[in-house]
Amino acid sequence: MRKAAEQVPLKAAPHGGPALPPDQAGAVQAALDAHRDAAGALLPVLHAVQDALGYVPEAAVPVIAHDLNQSRAEVHGMLSFYHYFRTRPSGRHIVYLCRAEACQSMGARELEAQVKQRLGIDFHETTADGEFTLEPVYCLGNCACAPSVMVDKTLHGRVDAERFDALLVETAEAAK
């Protein structure tokens, strides 16, 4: 009994859970093809998957683990350790709000409250219209022009509540 299961090597069991939809499977495969031979491949593979899909789907975990001959726990452990990786889709735009000391000295605590109120969400949440996800970040290296906000990959300095409102409008318009 259960002979088939016993024959599966411990570290390579891409079974169980929902299968990846074909387009996602293609992106995961491309990420693996591009980075599998790199030393310490798991980190660049996860980046490539998130770059392509916006997140790393749970269903990609066994596929990546099997391909790199690592355990699912190792892949899951990476995803849960690093703040940047996400396992669920974000909104169309990600707003990274700096919470670190240099920004605090220029009013980031007040800005944080205003941003949360303006978007109607807390950190790690997405607005109901699916437009913005709010994430905390600890330093964007723009400490002489604080407070700092990064929207997707665009950095903004000296942001106050008024400027933040304008950014939301600019971001939505630029995406149209």
């Binding site: 670190a100 240099a102 920004c103 605090q104 600890y138 330093c139 300095g157």
Partner: protein, 522 residues
């Protein structure tokens, strides 16, 4: 005749609108037929003047700033292409005291050259250090770095030459050079500015390190919060390969060095060198116990030099101009220069590279011009989120590793964050613990759990819930964290907490004592 105009590509310049200014310049030039060439340089590091526009004239580079897109029309009308007068005209860049008084060794080219042009790099002295290193024995390269007195600029200030010598002596078929570009400390941006403003100097420094210890593979571990630095590094590494600076035949010498950039993923702890190595290996970034030292058993178990961006980028000038040249700057055991970063609530925020020895007060007032809000500066955090909060009475401390250690402070990576007198230091102490709880790798109990307990205890002190007892408890907890943590995160988080408590006790006792009945009448 074509007029060359410089507008920075530095992330902080972009964050305040440099791209919009460039678009406006291009549009106006196209409309009026003005013959201009825009070079996207690094930043001069005077961020209150960004976006800074410089025009190359026979009299030198004339600066205008801060320029907004709608200033462009009046700039052209005033004749700024000839360096003419305008309300925003600042004169020659070198004549601006903030810039002119600096001693720029590591940042010699930043803000001057086109960062992605190898020709520009060579024309401004680039690759001279590498050229000399290629003719030297490995031990001689290490000796020159040792003699220069260069210490690790990432924060720990460990002598670079001693680290290199250990790696040189280690026997292995594969050694690595790893650049720690996980610049996570709030108030620091010198690594970012250098990688965006002169990436070739970092590449050159890493190649020299490889030649010094016999390493053929390098990795730059870059934080993912720095997309502009990532672009600059990728572009210059490709150029370096195409021109035999990197690869199997460095400048025609037949020697090899390969270089790769790896992105981190938002974990502050990966700035700690052993966590960084685990992360590079594709694992959770958890701290390793030392020994073994990374120089003996580092990346993938092989001898590895791991140095900060500024440390490695300071090597080319030491090789080129000699150990004595570099060592003659500075004071005591702090030799050379330190690129300091003025940040937070400061009027003239930016980068100041100076020899060690000037005081914190000179930086805050002579360079920084006081607070941005115009209020008195009440507290300064030096050395990132793990550095102590210093009161006004300590502002005369010289910028020197030992002088800062003597006041239980830390110079760290040279970040200086100013706070005005509206700051609540109890909240800053609480944030230090909160940050440690968020970023702890989880390996050591005092850091992983102590930080969360620390937040709670500070909340009780502030709420005046058994204040005296909880203050004793907080000191005890800090003692446990200092002595019971493997790395600097758990070990140094108590410094901002205790310094806030020490120097600003009044902020912890604003709340009057609650009546006993408030605790449930027990």
């Amino acid at each position: 005749m074509t007029t060359t105009i410089y507008v920075s590509r530095d992330a902080s310049a972009l964050a305040v609108g440099a791209d919009r200014v460039v678009r406006s310049l291009a549009e106006h030039a196209a409309r009026t037929g003005a013959d201009i060439r825009v070079v996207r340089n690094g930043s001069r590091g005077m961020f209150w003047l960004e976006p800074l526009v410089e025009v190359a004239t026979p009299a030198g580079r004339i600066a205008y700033g801060p320029v907004q897109p709608n200033d462009v029309v009046t700039l052209f009308a005033a004749g700024f292409m000839q360096g003419a007068a305008h309300a925003l005209r600042l004169g020659k860049v070198e004549d601006i005291a903030y810039f002119g008084k600096q001693e720029r060794l590591t940042f010699a080219r930043v803000g001057i050259t086109d960062p992605v042009s190898l020709d520009d790099y060579r024309a401004h002295g680039g690759l001279a250090g590498l050229g000399k290193a290629l003719d030297m024995a490995p031990a001689d390269i290490v000796k020159r770095v040792t003699d220069s007195g260069l210490r690790g600029r990432g924060g720990a200030a460990f002598p670079a030459g001693i680290k290199w010598n250990t790696a040189l002596g280690a026997q292995s078929t594969q050694k690595y050079i790893v650049c720690n570009a996980d610049e996570g400390d709030s108030g620091t941006f010198s690594d970012r500015m250098l990688m965006e403003g002169d990436p070739f100097v970092l590449i050159e420094g890493m190649i020299i390190a490889g030649l010094a210890v016999g390493a053929t593979q390098g990795y730059i571990y870059l934080r993912c919060e720095y997309p502009h630095a990532h672009e600059a590094l990728q572009s210059t590494i490709a150029t370096a390969y195409a021109n035999q600076v990197l690869g199997g035949d460095i400048l025609g010498s037949g020697k090899r060095f390969d270089l790769d950039v790896r992105l981190g993923a938002g974990a502050y702890i990966c700035g700690e060198e052993t966590s960084l190595l685990d992360s590079l290996e594709g694992k959770r970034g958890q701290v390793r116990a030392k020994p073994p030292l990374p120089a003996i058993k580092g990346l993938f178990g092989q001898p590895t030099i791991i140095n900060n961006v500024i440390t490695l980028a300071s090597v080319p000038i030491i090789l080129d101009k000699g150990a004595e040249y570099y060592r003659d700057f500075g004071m005591g055991r702090s030799r050379g220069t330190l690129p300091l970063q003025l940040a937070g609530n400061i009027r003239h925020g930016g980068l100041v590279e100076k020899a060690f020895g000037l005081t914190l007060r000179e930086l805050l007032y002579d360079y920084g011009g006081g607070s941005a809000t115009g209020r008195p500066i009440r507290a300064v955090q030096v050395g990132g989120p793990l550095g102590a909060y210093l009161p006004e009475s300590q502002f005369d401390t010289p910028i020197d590793y030992e002088a800062f250690a003597a006041i239980k402070g830390m110079l760290g990576h040279g970040g200086i964050v100013a706070f005005d007198n509206t700051v609540d230091m109890a909240q800053q102490a609480r944030f230090a613990m909160e940050f440690c709880a968020i970023e702890s790798c989880g390996k050591c109990t005092p850091c992983r759990i102590g930080s969360t307990r620390g937040v709670e205890v500070i909340d009780r002190i502030v709420a005046n819930h058994s204040r005296a007892m909880n203050t004793t408890l907080l000191r005890d907890l800090c003692d446990t964290m200092v002595n019971g943590s493997l790395c600097a995160l758990g070990g140094l988080t108590p410094y901002p907490v205790l310094s806030a408590l020490e120097h600003f006790p009044e902020d912890f006792s604003k709340e009057p004592a609650l009546p006993q009945s408030a605790f449930g009448g027990g």
